[in-house]
C-alpha cells in the first residue's frame, strides 16, 4: 500500500515552493517565526479575520487597535462576543499584528469604538449566522434521517403485527 500523508496548506505551499523554487523564502519566514502564531494557522474554525473557534469551545478574538490602558481589548472583543453570544469565560483576546488586512489601525482621537463598533458587531454576527446555518443544515439532514428510520421501524412493526 502506498503511504498517504495528510498535508496542511502551509506545508503544501512550502513543498510547492521548494519544487518550483519560487516562494520559498516568504513561506519559511512565516512558519518558522515562533514569536507570533497567527490565529489563522491554529486548528479550528475561522469564520473571519477576527473570530477563531476551537472544538473545545474556546473562542479567540482579535483586537486590531493598540491597547494603552483605554481598554480596547475589552471593548472591541466584547462587541464581537456580544453578537456572537460567546461565553466571556471561554474568550481570549489576542493582539493583531500591524497589517493592512485589519483596516485602519490608528489608535487615536477616541475613535476606535466610534468607528469600529459596527464592523466588529458584524464580525460576531456573521460568525454566529454561519454557525446557526451549519447547525440548521445538520439538524435538517438529521431529522430527515430520523424520519426515514422511524418510518422503516413503523413498517417493520406493522409487518410483525400482521
Amino acid at each position: 500500500m502506498s503511504n498517504i500523508q495528510k498535508i496542511d496548506r502551509r506545508d503544501f505551499v512550502k513543498l510547492f515552493g521548494l519544487a518550483s523554487g519560487g516562494i520559498i523564502l516568504g513561506c519559511s519566514v512565516a512558519s518558522d517565526s515562533k514569536d507570533f502564531i497567527p490565529i489563522e494557522s491554529k486548528k479550528g474554525f475561522h469564520p473571519n479575520l477576527f473570530v477563531h473557534l476551537e472544538e473545545n469551545g474556546n473562542v479567540t478574538l482579535v483586537a486590531s487597535r493598540s491597547e494603552m490602558g483605554q481598554g480596547i481589548r475589552t471593548s472591541l472583543a466584547s462587541a464581537i462576543a456580544d453578537e456572537l453570544e460567546a461565553d466571556w469565560q471561554y474568550v481570549s483576546v489576542v493582539q493583531a499584528i500591524g497589517h493592512e488586512k485589519y483596516g485602519n489601525q490608528n489608535t487615536d482621537g477616541s475613535r476606535s469604538v466610534r468607528t469600529r463598533l459596527e464592523p466588529m458587531r458584524k464580525m460576531g454576527a456573521t460568525a454566529k449566522m454561519m454557525l446557526i446555518t451549519a447547525a440548521a443544515n445538520f439538524l435538517w439532514r438529521f431529522s430527515c434521517r430520523c424520519r426515514q428510520s422511524s418510518n422503516s421501524k413503523r413498517k417493520k412493526h406493522t409487518i410483525k403485527k400482521s
Binding site: 491597547e67 494603552m68 490602558g69 483605554q70 481598554g71 481589548r73 475589552t74 481570549s92 483576546v93
Partner: protein
C-alpha cells in the same frame, strides 16, 4: 559616591546621589526596565519591588534606604513568581501590560506571606496596584490558578 545595590542576588555599584529615588537607579542606572514608572507619588503600584521581602513603591524610597538590603524586581526569579508568571500566561491576563510587573510583584509578596489567599486577601493585598485596562478579575483568577499550580507541583 559609590552605592552598592543588591538586585536579584547580584551586586551593582552605582554612582548616584543618595536621595535619588530607587526606581531611577533600577531603571536608568542599572538598566532593569521591567519595573515601570507610573505616577511617581506612590499611588499606582507600577514601580513595586520587594526590598528585603517587603512590598515597596520604588519611586518613593531613596537609593540610600535600599543599601545593604536585597532588592527583588520583576526580572528576578522566585518560586512564587514562576507560578504566577505561568498563571498570568495561561489566563491571558495583561492587556496593555504596563502595570503588570507591579501586579506580579504585589502578587508575589502576597503569596510569600499567605499561602492560600482568599478573595478578600487578594483584594486587600492588590488594592494598591491600579490597572487602567481593568484586568482585575483575571488577576484575581490568575492568583488562584498560581496557588493551584503550586499545590499541584508540591
Amino acid at each position: 559616591m559609590d552605592i552598592n545595590l543588591s538586585i536579584n542576588g547580584k551586586s551593582h555599584a552605582v554612582q548616584v546621589q543618595e536621595d535619588m529615588p530607587l526606581l531611577w537607579a533600577i531603571r536608568d542606572i542599572v538598566g532593569l526596565t521591567g519595573t515601570k514608572f507610573g505616577c511617581g507619588v506612590s499611588q499606582c503600584g507600577a514601580c513595586s519591588v520587594l526590598v528585603d521581602g517587603r512590598l515597596t513603591k520604588s519611586c518613593s524610597v531613596s537609593v540610600i534606604d535600599a543599601v545593604e538590603k536585597e532588592i527583588f524586581t520583576i526580572e528576578g526569579n522566585s518560586e512564587n513568581l514562576e507560578f504566577l508568571r505561568q498563571a498570568w500566561t495561561d489566563g491571558n491576563v495583561p492587556q496593555c501590560g504596563y502595570c503588570q510587573s507591579g501586579q506580579l510583584i504585589a502578587a508575589t509578596s502576597l503569596l510569600d506571606t499567605i499561602e492560600n489567599p482568599t478573595d478578600k486577601d487578594i483584594d486587600k493585598a492588590m488594592s494598591a496596584n491600579i490597572c487602567r485596562c481593568g484586568t482585575y478579575t483575571r488577576i484575581k483568577k490568575a492568583i488562584h490558578t498560581a496557588v493551584k499550580l503550586k499545590n499541584q507541583t508540591l
